[in-house]
């Protein structure tokens, strides 16, 4: 704990020039659209909304029990929230901050992914070893697909043809054809796979294994393994380096991997597949999200109950913001 507060005061020093910069840009009339980060608090049954101009928590929205996965629809008018303990996906209206509906989700939905068509939503039912496919307009479950024990990470390829679910206890990546909803291939990976992410060209799939401590990059075409990376941080035992969330930058050849209880985020160069840097963030970091222009990367830190803000130009952690208990999912919204 004391170590963390130490790094906090260090961070405040770091953040001063940054605040000055934001102030200057405001004076120069270079006012950008406001950006708000939405963070689900697993233990507080709420969403904290953080204003990314001054990093203040501007509101807390009460939602269903144990909210975890959180995504927006395409125009960011609605958000879908996995309320795991009440076995529902809740629909949050972004203008009124009210829950305006629910989708049938199967039991214990943990994560969600939206198909590029905007009408199909996928959710992993962690307790039942199922992937549920839901049609949003009709609010109907299209099908449930048998997957391994504790399905977790979901990813839909940008071209919409494939979807991925990782199962934590089965140590497997399940490949699913979105047209037929058939599981057409399974690949074993390191222990406890968590997150999956397609590259924008649909050619690679990135998967993290939390206990295995690995990042595996697959060739999507034939499911062959292209790269395998393990992470090493000086002074931290390898057992604590547990890769979880992945984000890939559009504007630069960089990927960021959250490394769980090692309290670091790895920066990977996607051209060379070299690890460029490890950035210190809050405790047990798991999910990551960029703001719109990718100048900032936000991390949810489960144990320290805060989000860290990383400046992606300097590759430095510049700020941490206290939110609710066990922050889990995160997404950034544009407002006018």
């Amino acid at each position: 704990m004391s170590q963390h507060s130490c790094s906090l005061s260090y961070l405040t020093k770091l953040v001063k020039p940054f605040l000055l910069f934001s102030l200057l840009s405001l004076l120069a009339g270079n006012v950008l659209a406001k950006e708000l980060a939405y963070v689900t608090n697993e233990k507080d049954n709420s969403i904290s909304v953080v204003d990314l101009d001054d990093f203040s928590v501007i509101k807390e929205i009460p939602v269903g029990d144990r909210p975890r996965g959180f995504i927006f629809n395409h125009d960011q008018s609605l958000a879908y929230i996995c309320a795991s303990d009440i076995d529902r996906i809740q629909i949050l209206d972004m203008t009124s901050d009210q829950i305006i509906g629910e989708l049938p989700s199967g039991e214990d939905p943990e994560t969600i992914a939206l198909h590029p068509n905007g009408t199909t939503i996928y959710t992993a039912n962690e307790d039942d070893a199922l992937l549920t496919v839901i049609d949003i307009p009709s609010q109907q479950v299209i099908t449930q697909i048998d997957v391994g024990v504790e399905p977790e990470g979901l990813a839909v390829s940008p071209d919409g043809t494939k979807m991925i679910v990782t199962s934590e206890t089965t140590n497997m990546v399940h490949w699913i054809d979105t047209k037929t909803n058939q599981n057409y291939a399974n690949s074993l990976v390191g222990a406890r796979p968590r997150a999956a992410m397609f590259t924008r060209d649909n050619k690679e799939l990135w998967v993290t294994s939390e206990i295995g401590g690995q990042l595996t990059v697959f060739n999507v075409e034939d499911q062959s393994v292209k790269h395998e990376i393990t992470f090493k941080i000086r002074g931290i035992h390898s057992d604590r380096v547990q890769p979880v969330g992945i984000v890939l930058m559009k504007s630069k050849p960089l990927a960021f991997i959250a490394l769980g209880p090692s309290n670091h985020v790895a920066v990977v160069n996607t051209d060379t597949m070299e690890i460029e840097k490890y950035l210190l963030v809050g405790r047990r970091v798991w999910q990551l999200a960029f703001n719109e222009d990718e100048s900032m990367l936000l991390t949810t830190n489960g144990i320290s109950g805060d989000i860290s803000v990383i400046d992606t130009n300097q590759l430095k952690t510049i700020k941490s913001v206290k939110v609710g208990r066990y922050p889990w999912g995160i997404a950034v919204k544009q407002t006018d």
Binding site: E126, G148, S167, N171, H174, N186, A191, G212, D239
Partner: protein
């Protein structure tokens, strides 16, 4: 074959014959048979000649409930890999010195065994197993005897239940981290209590914790009536202690000690703050999902005996998944290797100590309704793994 024969109509016969011929000659055309993984659970009737607190009587399916969930989870995984797991229970009688178990009468050869046996019977099993041409892979899921970890280093023996030493070291680390190093130790009088006490004394020596007084509970009063008078008298010492450590495995008196000590001090050991592998309040690192699955299957909370058994099945399943077979020698070698990495809801991978087959694992310190801390405590370092600060290290084993 018979079915084909019976169904064979004249016009279909040639087609079926060709199909059969192909499937015999080219097995690849035939339906692939799943790899069958059969596990035997050997469970001994335990007889005690002393009283056990009825509040502490374990559920009838204690332990085996964990095996059932482990098999179910492994089959969910197995269906993607063409592996089918099953288990059967074999109950053997309690052993007496006059009538030990004759292991030669049991089919042990080349089996996957999960065992819940007393120390003598387990040692006899290991001796018998070592003499076999194709020895079994044995996982001890219930016996915590330190001797089994220190003296027996059979390549085919594993323990997924911790040793007493791992448990008492976890308590010792907590004492040190709280700077409580002046102890009143209270002993029960069962052989289990003695084993526990010896283990705690080893811990105390290791961490330089001072046992300033040691008393043995004499069972000459009825505690239910006079608890508030008896325990303070019993725990009175000339000088104050920091903490009371109770060694009473069957809760014959230990549960009456907290809040009744002569000096108002915490109670740990087998009452008050206890150390074990699992507790219903654990929910981090995906544990909540395991708790939910267990509760759905068994309509009760998962206890440590269930967890120790569950982990054993998962260890076998993971090894089978990785080596893609059931060869006992290959499985045992793999399980002791560094490639073995078991995710078991403890926040870090679990591995077996290659020198005695003991599973390295964090130990949970709990009170009846919640988690207090987890060992190893921060600051206890080890060149190989912090988890090796709990229990016996390489140099203490099989010397």
């Amino acid at each position: 074959m018979n079915v084909t024969y019976l169904l064979c109509k004249p016009y279909l016969c040639p087609i079926l014959a060709i199909t059969l011929f192909i499937s015999v000659v080219f097995p690849v055309f035939a339906k692939i048979e799943p790899l069958k993984v059969n596990i035997t659970y050997i469970n001994q009737v335990h007889e005690h000649d002393y009283y056990t607190n009825p509040l502490l009587v374990a559920p009838a399916d204690s332990g085996v409930a964990g095996i059932e969930l482990g098999i179910e989870d492994s089959n969910t995984t197995g269906k993607f890999l063409g592996q089918q797991f099953s288990f059967l229970t074999q109950t053997i009688p309690a052993a007496h010195s006059s009538s030990p178990i004759r292991w030669s009468e049991y089919k042990i050869e080349n089996q996957l065994l999960l065992v819940d046996l007393d120390s003598e019977t387990l040692q006899a099993l290991i001796a018998h197993n070592n003499s076999l041409e194709q020895p079994a892979l044995i996982i001890n899921i219930a016996n915590r005897d330190n001797t089994l970890r220190q003296r027996i280093c059979s390549a085919n023996l594993f323990h997924t239940t911790p040793s007493h030493a791992q448990i008492t070291d976890a308590l010792g680390q907590w004492l040190l981290s709280k700077r409580l190093n002046n102890i009143l130790l209270i002993n029960g009088d069962t052989p289990g209590d003695l084993a526990w006490i010896n283990s705690f004394k080893r811990t105390a020596k290791r961490y330089k914790i001072n046992i300033s007084a040691e008393k043995k509970w004499t069972f000459d009063t009825d505690l239910r009536r006079t608890v508030s008078q008896d325990i303070p008298l019993f725990t009175q010492t000339a000088r104050p202690y920091d903490v009371v450590v109770v060694a009473d495995m069957y809760q014959q008196f230990g549960q009456y000690v907290p809040y009744n000590t002569y000096y108002p001090r915490p109670v740990i050991g087998t009452a008050g703050l206890v150390a074990d592998t699992w507790h219903p309040s654990i929910e981090q690192w995906g544990a909540k999902q395991l708790q939910n699955r267990f509760k759905t299957l068994h309509q009760r909370y998962m206890e440590h005996a269930d967890f120790d058994a569950y982990v054993a099945v998962r260890a076998i399943a993971y090894a089978v998944q990785q080596i893609k077979g059931v060869n006992i020698e290959a499985l045992a070698t793999f399980m002791r290797s560094e490639q073995f990495q078991l995710a078991a809801y403890k926040g870090r991978k679990l591995t077996f100590r290659d020198f005695n087959g003991q599973l390295r694992m964090p130990i949970e310190l709990t009170h009846p309704l919640g988690l207090v801390a987890r060992a190893p405590q921060t600051g206890f370092m080890h060149p190989v793994s912090e988890l090796d600060t709990l229990g016996f290290d390489r140099r203490e084993v099989c010397q």
